[in-house]
Symmetry: C2
Subunit: 452 residues, 2 copies
């Protein structure tokens, strides 16, 4: 037979079983955490009509998208989870209750140039809260608490949620009479971390055509640093000059003010006036989350408040706030940095049952019994040497091997060996289950991510 | 702004929040059940190289597939989870431990003609056990026990796992000297349930060119009915005439013999000599699962034993056994039949916290505290009338509403109202959590599927 060389496309993550188990654990934590805040799971198709998906149009997206014909349909793979959400809410608005809180963890597709750590198929893990006409500011204060709890549940401590408010920025540029250039300015200012203030000033003046004294004013503004209280205090000196600025200041103060009640410690949150988020549609609070020991990774969880989710589909005003975790990239980076806790079990089973006699009935019954107690049990019945069977358990990291020979069967017991210690005990099935459960509990103590 | 009419493509399932919650629950049960048997979760890309995906080639598949160019790559969306598994095992054979047991729940794509209850994007939930060179027959006996436990965990009782062995069929046709026509014959025989024996006989003779006395012999064979013991007994009369038949008989006896130990009751399993499975690559035990009260749906879980998973990619012999549940179609049918238990909660939250005063801090703290106890809590802070807030909880099916007014705050308590009964109690946060937890437990008693 002529053979085809099997291969997985570059830019597509395909994990071996052990890391896949860690990925599943992360997804489970995200699902659980999002659920705690009243978000309902949603699942939309990966394929949409190209017309619907590209309603907004625009350059980069259009180039990267996977778009194709099937019959006479013009189709495309989703490139994020926000556009499908907008479509979903526009279609189903009459059947949903607002505020509508949904989470979605799903694959999206972007045909970017393949490079290390960049993926063409990747998971996003999104939450959004959509209001009907209005949406309370408190939702914007709740978002950092969800980010905080999510990352803490994964095991991270050394991270910082950076927040800002677009109204403060828009108001500030309006004070300077630069409203119509605020988009360009924010894109330039966004590079501050990477290129430093001098180069930002140069670009502002040379490329964006800002007067030097205004550029200095901008640099003074974005240089405001300190504790959250200090930053808010410094912003007070700009109050009373622009209504939008004042509104943004009020929102930011409210958001910061409630964070303690939401359980977010000061050290995990910083008001940062340089955060703008590139996207045009954010209108209020914006969020970025950085890992303090790995700033080079950039933001691992970003989002913000927008005034109109589905303007391309409906004239219903649907303001919202949401965040997105680029899960595949985050997982890749955590692996690269050696931050995935190797001590958490990744074995496919908790125990491997090895029948030692001809009649397999007692071993099958035992395995069935242990499964009824909730244990993950694999029955090993291949005709292999004893050593090979033990190596199988060892290579997979299965913590317990259970032997069932004539003696054990006669006594109504089984022998349980813990591979890590070599300890072997002859026990009833119930006691074996208890022993294994206790051992598993001890092994499950750690978090998925381990900081160094 | 010019608006695009939002729409979801036909043949693509997109659920409202309540049914989506039921779907999530089903998926969670599948994941848990598969895990109990030592299957490890796997996730492969939805897009593969067309050359790799279509290695086997062949008519129907090729017509239905979503295939497209991106740059100069010829790509296609996976149409099942078996081909990607074959590719995965062929690539990673050196890093896997055999037998390799994996489950995968993922979306697959087939551009079929759209019709009611047929989907172009649908979930398959597969398990496979892959051996390296050899695979013990016990694995074939374990599969029905996994099907049994899966369907029972979902809440089904009225189902039957029908099994057969391809070697018995091949051996039988070999006895008749019809080996080279066994494919056609099996396809005809497969229609027995739908068209009855007379029409099967007519097609065998007229279309398949089988002599009338041989057609009668075939009909006599597939008419063998009765308890599993009776069917095996009837098959004994054919023994000693064909080695393949005898081997198949031995395997079938072994599989049936161990089912009791695996905990599969007789009434949920039937040896059925008409089962062949259309696919060419099954070589041993084959499985179909039917819902006894809905035979019109056909098989909801099928599969079998194959000798060579990845022959198109590698010369390594990889025998296996696997089954697949067509999850999206099953979910659709269950919904149509009204079999999804409406009593299980589908609300996005267990409790809705309603702050009654100006200062939201106590309400935020309370919500945070309840979440730390594992409760799913939504904080409702929109400026709406009291009645609208209660309607929100009611429409979403949120079972408890928690009020926090001046009096409660002064007492360090909160008022918990159970919407179903109207009962309201003023409690500490700890007692409120206990009350809600107990209420949830009572609500979670039922199974996802409810037979009538």
């Amino acid at each position: 037979m002529e053979r085809i060389k099997p291969r997985t496309l570059s830019g597509f993550m395909e994990l071996l079983p052990a890391p896949q188990m860690q990925m599943e654990r992360i997804m489970e934590i995200l699902r659980r955490t999002y659920s705690l805040y009243g978000f309902t799971p949603l699942d939309t198709p990966a394929i949409e009509s190209a017309e619907v998906l590209l309603a907004k149009g625009g350059g980069e997206t259009e180039k990267q998208i996977y778009r194709f014909q099937k019959g006479d349909s013009d189709l495309a793979l989703r490139f994020d989870l926000t556009v499908p959400l907008a479509k979903y809410v526009a279609i189903h608005a009459g059947e949903l209750c607002f505020p509508f809180r949904r989470y979605q963890i799903g694959k999206v597709y972007r045909g970017e140039r393949a490079q290390r750590g960049r993926f063409r198929e990747f998971y996003q893990a999104d939450i959004d809260i959509i209001g009907d006409g209005k949406l309370s500011i408190i939702n914007e204060a709740e978002i950092p608490s969800i980010i905080y709890r999510t990352f803490r549940s994964l095991g991270l401590r050394r991270f910082q949620i950076r927040i800002n408010n677009r109204k403060i920025l828009n108001g500030f540029y309006s004070m300077l009479g630069l409203s119509d250039r605020s988009g360009d300015i924010m894109r330039t200012v966004d590079k501050l971390d990477k290129i430093g203030p001098d180069k930002v000033r140069a670009i502002l003046i040379d490329d964006d055509g800002i007067a030097p004294e205004q550029a200095d004013e901008i640099l003074r503004f974005i240089a405001i640093r300190g504790s959250n209280a200090e930053v808010l205090k410094a912003l007070e000196s700009y109050l009373g000059k622009d209504a939008i600025f004042d509104e943004g200041f009020g929102e930011l103060s409210t958001v910061v003010g409630y964070l303690g009640d939401f359980g977010v410690p000061d050290e995990n949150l910083a008001v940062d006036l340089t955060i703008a988020r590139g996207l045009d549609y954010y209108t209020g609070t914006v969020y970025e989350t950085t890992m303090l020991d790995h700033p080079e990774i950039g933001s691992v969880c970003s989002g913000g408040r927008y005034d109109n989710l589905a303007a391309y589909y409906t004239d219903r005003q649907l303001p919202g706030v949401g965040i997105s975790i680029g899960l595949t990239r985050l997982f890749y980076v955590l692996g690269e940095q050696g931050m995935l806790n190797p001590e958490l079990p990744t074995a496919p089973a908790d125990a491997l049952v090895l029948p030692m006699g001809e009649d397999l009935s007692p071993a099958i019954s035992l395995a069935t019994q242990l499964r009824e107690q909730g244990l993950r049990v694999q029955l090993y019945t291949e005709a292999k040497k004893f050593k090979a069977k033990m190596q199988y358990a060892d290579r997979l990291g299965i913590p317990y091997v259970i032997f069932l020979g004539e003696d054990e069967i006669a006594q109504g017991k089984c022998s349980v060996k813990e591979l890590a210690t070599g300890t072997q005990q002859t026990l009833t099935a119930e006691d074996a289950a208890d022993l294994i459960r206790a051992g598993l509990e001890a092994r499950m103590q750690g978090t998925v991510i381990r900081e160094k």
